[in-house]
Amino acid sequence: MWKFLRTVLLVDLIQGLWVTFRYQQPKYIYTEQYPAQRPQVAERYRGAPRLNIHPESGQTLCIACDLCALICPENLIVVTSERNEQTRRKELTTFTYDTSRCMFCGLCEDACPVDALELTQDFELASYTREGAIWDRQMLEEGPLPKQYVR
């Protein structure tokens, strides 16, 4: 009898309608308007790599120790250096980082003894060519500069 009444009075259908009605509240809206509003990624997110430079002198922090290239499971970091005869120190010449093969494990930033290499929270790594995914020293120092489509 109870079941019959439920069917006749369309109780289940009305419950369903109530569920959808409640979801209209704007606070539930989940959509991000991506290029206009950038999403907040988590603090521990590992994204685009960056070679840090000294904030005052503008010189690179990298000492070209090659530890990051050695620890990288994908062997995607290539560091070349040159010995400066005057200061008798190794100086960084080129640093390439192939982001297309990177799995963002973060071992390189752990291995770095001077906190020069860092995986940042930038996530816009797309590129039109495979070559574009291989970042050189300048690109690593500047970080990705995504185009702004919206004023």
Binding site: L13, V19, Y23, I29, T31, Q33
Partner: protein, 398 residues
């Protein structure tokens, strides 16, 4: 000049022109409202990029549809392919001729008004069937066959539900129905000690099926039939089908409003001290929408065009609300307001059903139609008839 003003068909011709010119735009905004409301149900935003909050999306859609390449499949029957959407649209829009939009805003008040609309909606089905057949495509043909079977089935239930209403109203004239509700001082949905709720419910359900809307949108079930009867249509012809669908929705909702929900009468039309509803409800509604637009003005304050549009909208909403507070203006347009408000509520329900219920299987659809809807409608007709006899005729119905 006087000769023009004395022309007896001046008002009908003017109203016809206004409806034909304005209704495509209205359909555009119903579609926008549908997309926005569905987006809300699905915790999305919906159109947001064309105009503030997607407000100009219908215009962009219209331009896109109008400049699209007009494709007629080579294997199709060209003349019928051309005729079918025209037939659907013409019948859909002709039905507006007898809708009582207000006490004085109507094109014609014929004594067979409801019959006229039902006849036109039956011819409208022909547009769908011809379109599906002329496309010479399996999907279209299947969609057309389904729509024919579905509409014929549900028209029976809808007819019986309407007969119950006609019994209480005692007239087929659309204006006459509203007049009867004014005279008997009750909306017919609550008439006969509440028993008229049954035919009203049957009508509400079969109206959804009649207009091919979800959950009864079997004729255009996209997961099975691509797009059903309009699979092969594109551009302007497709938009004609769309226009016809929304015109039918509007007409069917208008019948529900006219016959069951008091037409252009305010709620509780017989209670004199509730006359303030005529002023407070429209003013409050428009002021509320205006306040919402004002929030948009703030949001788009750094964008010159969008901000300007929002300012104009806000101004228009507050002006509309204020105009309802002037007694002479109010007296002229309050009927239209109540009618359109009720139709809008029913159209919202259409979207609500679409956002909630999954589509029926075809055998379920037929079973609901033939085994539940039609017997319930016939039973309700008999019961309501006996109740009216017992209450000694339609004139003294509680």
């Amino acid at each position: 000049m006087n000769a023009v003003l004395d022309f007896p068909y001046l008002k009908p011709v003017l109203i016809t022109l206004v409806i034909i010119l304005v209704f495509p735009l209205v359909v555009g905004y119903i579609v926008l409202a549908e997309r926005k409301v569905l987006a809300d149900y699905q915790v999305r935003l919906g159109p947001m990029r064309v105009g503030p909050y997607g407000f100009l999306q219908p215009l962009a859609d219209a331009v896109k549809l109008l400049i699209k390449e007009d494709i007629i499949p080579t294997a199709s029957d060209r003349w019928i392919f051309w005729l079918a959407p025209v037939l659907s649209t013409v019948t859909g829009l002709t039905a507006f001729a007898v809708l009582p939009l207000s006490e004085w805003i109507y094109i014609a008040d014929v004594n067979i008004g409801l019959l006229f609309i039902l006849a036109l909606s039956s011819v409208g089905i022909l547009g769908l069937i011809l379109g599906g057949w002329a496309s010479n495509s399996h999907y279209s043909l299947l969609g057309a066959l389904r729509s024919a079977a579905q509409m014929v089935s549900y028209e029976v239930a809808m007819g019986f539900a309407l007969v119950s209403g006609l019994m209480v109203a005692g007239t087929l004239s659309m204006q006459g129905m509203v007049a009867a509700q004014q005279r008997l001082q009750i909306w017919f949905a609550f008439s006969n000690y509440g028993l008229m709720m049954i035919p009203f419910a049957v009508y509400a359900i079969s109206a959804v099926a009649e207009t091919n809307r979800a959950p009864f949108d079997l004729p255009e079930a996209e997961s099975e039939l691509v797009a059903g009867f309009h699979t092969e249509y594109s551009g302007f012809r497709w938009s004609l089908y769309m226009l016809a669908e929304y015109a039918n929705m509007f007409v069917v909702s208008s019948i529900a409003v006219t016959l069951f929900l008091g037409g252009w009468l305010r709620p509780f039309p017989s209670v004199a001290w509730l006359a303030w509803l005529n002023f407070v409800v429209p003013a409050a509604l428009f002021f509320l929408i205006g306040a919402g637009c004002a929030v948009g003005v703030k949001r788009y304050s750094d964008h010159r065009v969008f901000g300007g549009i929002m300012i104009v909208l806000t101004g228009a909403m507050f002006a509309a609300g204020a105009s309802f507070l002037l007694p002479p203006v109010n007296a002229r347009i309050i009927g239209l307001f109540w009618f359109l408000l009720k139709v809008a509520v029913i159209l919202y329900c259409y979207i609500w059903y679409r956002g909630t219920f999954p589509r029926f299987r075809y055998d379920q659809l037929m079973r609901i139609g033939w085994r539940y809807m039609i017997p319930i409608a016939m039973g309700a007709l008999i019961v309501n008839g006996f109740v009216m006899l017992w209450g000694q005729g339609g004139e003294r119905v509680q």
